[in-house]
Amino acid sequence: MTKTFRIGGIHPPESKLSAGQGIIPLGIPARVVVPMWQHIGTPANPLVQKGTRVKVGTLLGEAAGFISAGVHSPVSGTVEKIDTVIDASGYKRPAIHIEVEGDEWEENIDHSIAIVRNCTLTPEQIIRKIATAGIVGMGGATFPTHVKLSLSPPLATCAEILIINAVECEPYLTADHALMLSKGEEILIGISLLMQAVKVRRAVIGIEKNKPDAINLLSELIKRFEGIEVIPLKVQYPQGGEKQLIDAVLRRQIKSGALPISVGAVVQNIGTAFAVYEAVQKNKPLIERIVTVTGKTLAKPSNFRVRIGTPVVALIEAAGGLPKDTGKIIGGGPMMGKALISTDVPVTKGTSGILLLTRKESVRQEESNCIRCAKCINACPMGLNPTLLSTAAEFTQWEMAEKNYIVDCIECGSCSYTCPAARPLLDHIRQGKNKVMGIIRARKATNV
């Protein structure tokens, strides 16, 4: 039997329109806008001023505080202004606007395609290089990678396995898939580096079975590496959720509120593994990423290699232009992505895809009474009762919501997707979860 996670799950149409398209490098735009807050944690502190000349890889903003990440210039040129930009979240965020001139790289960066295999660095040196390169989780959560790897001593001894998330369970997205097919060996070197960094001897790559070419390629390549294993997984959403992936691979479930290390696992995205390779072996900071641009009526669904800060409109133009019937533009996948309010939003470290939905696809069904069919309960991968939580949140029953583990919701959207009465379950639960987390924080603050 193929492995998968054990609670809930759904199977939306895969719609991987851009699968097998290869990776097309996108031209550098005339101007980029680089947000200082592309990660979970504190925004980076800008280090440049208006008029500063920068090269590709120049540090624009330094990490501020423990959970933060540095931001590097993805282009060479002149800083036009330090201002704000509306990013995928819909909020204005501090950002550095750069006018592009040429493509001049910092001297220490090796941006050739030659593969560098050997590494003699210590775990601490590897982690420092990852931090210097500003790497964050590239699956979408954008948690600073060096923080995840810097385990404090009692925890560090528990790590026994590194799990690489190559599930890409979101419909439409194919960025990780394309990366695996074109950069297989580099990814495996990156995984070896991550294994050294967290001092484990075993790593597994979880890939869903709808990517047989990637499974075959990596299964062939791992023969030259020690301790790495490829595990094909049954196609089921949300298998790319950290907790779900650990359950699928290890048959271990993390307790409410605990971290993956509590079951001996460290999870990293496959895109992050590639970024780690480039950072450690080639001194290249995180200044570009693979972005899937897709949609049913888009002329050329593609996978682009894009410099951070490129406006989304440039990607859509390269994929054949915005179709006339576009109703919604989504940053990310259809299940967890965010609807963008403008095509001027810049690509950030966490942008895995740009999805264009037609007007017809964008309109929600009208909601009706809950018929208690329990389909949301059967779909919930966290074993929660979405209809109860949604109602509790709607009627501000915070205590009831907390008792029924509202904070464990991973916001995967399986409940809303499934609901025959088209109830906006996750909308209510998300609001309730934020409220309850605030209440819990306040309680802790007064108790201390």
Binding site: P171, Q253, S256, K338, R359, R372, C380, N404
Partner: protein, 318 residues
Amino acid sequence: MWYVSSSPHIHSGDTVSKNMLSVLVALIPACIVALYYYGLGMLMVTTVSVVSCVAVEWAIQKYLMRKTSTINDGSAILTGVLLALNLPSNLPVWIVIVGAIAAIGIGKMPFGGLGNNIFNPALVGRIFLLISFPAQMTTWPVPGFFPMDYTDAETGATLLTVLQSGGATALPQGVGSLLSGDMGGSLGLAGGVAMIGGLCYMLVRKTITWHIPLSVMASTILFTGVMHAVDPTQYISPLIHLFSGGLLLGAIFMATDYVTSPMTPVGMLVYGAGIGLLTAIIRLFGAYPEGMAFAILIMNACTPLINTYTKPKHFGGC
């Protein structure tokens, strides 16, 4: 300008009416069997029941609730069909209409319509008629081969009524006729095979899960089986119980009503087991030969309590 909303941005396309339709499709074999044995009477009762259920819902929403009509969701049609399958095929039109008014007007709309009702509306209708018109509700036409008579049909007692008065020795027919449906009773008593066919359809379509039908059947077999083992002359075999009366209709189509049944697998098993136990108690020791309808309504009332005490299996096991 583009739409902006929070995730998820796609939907399964499942709707309430698709689910109702799926149950209606699953009822087709049972309806065909009933039509075959009860002919014109079945057609009359079913048509009147469906039309009046839909009309009552429409009228209440339009004139009393002043809300947009929800008759398009198909739930009133389903209630109509289920109510008809719970009635003798020689029941006069006006009594069927009274049943429909009770089902929708008492069982469903006062609570706020579909999704808010506590009791299964079709069963509310049936019990209302059973208590109000005991004579008409317990004289059943003898099954024929597409008979063309309606209220003037020849009548006879049902298997369970015979057994109620005469004990296990009074068993007139073999189990074979129970399976094919060739047996006096409500429309829905016909055709165990047709019912199970409908169950398979709904399981494949994932309209329902196996928990409720299986636990109702298993617990009925268990409790009537224990009594049969104690005294076979007084209590009939559990298999006859399984295939007689409204047991299969109830277990497959009535107990599994989304709105009035629990939501977690464990809750469903508890609920089903309760229905089986109550049915056995009423059938073996009660005044009524049939126990299914009361058993389901009693367990409907317990559903909120069961939902409170049976939580889904939480990730991480706490």
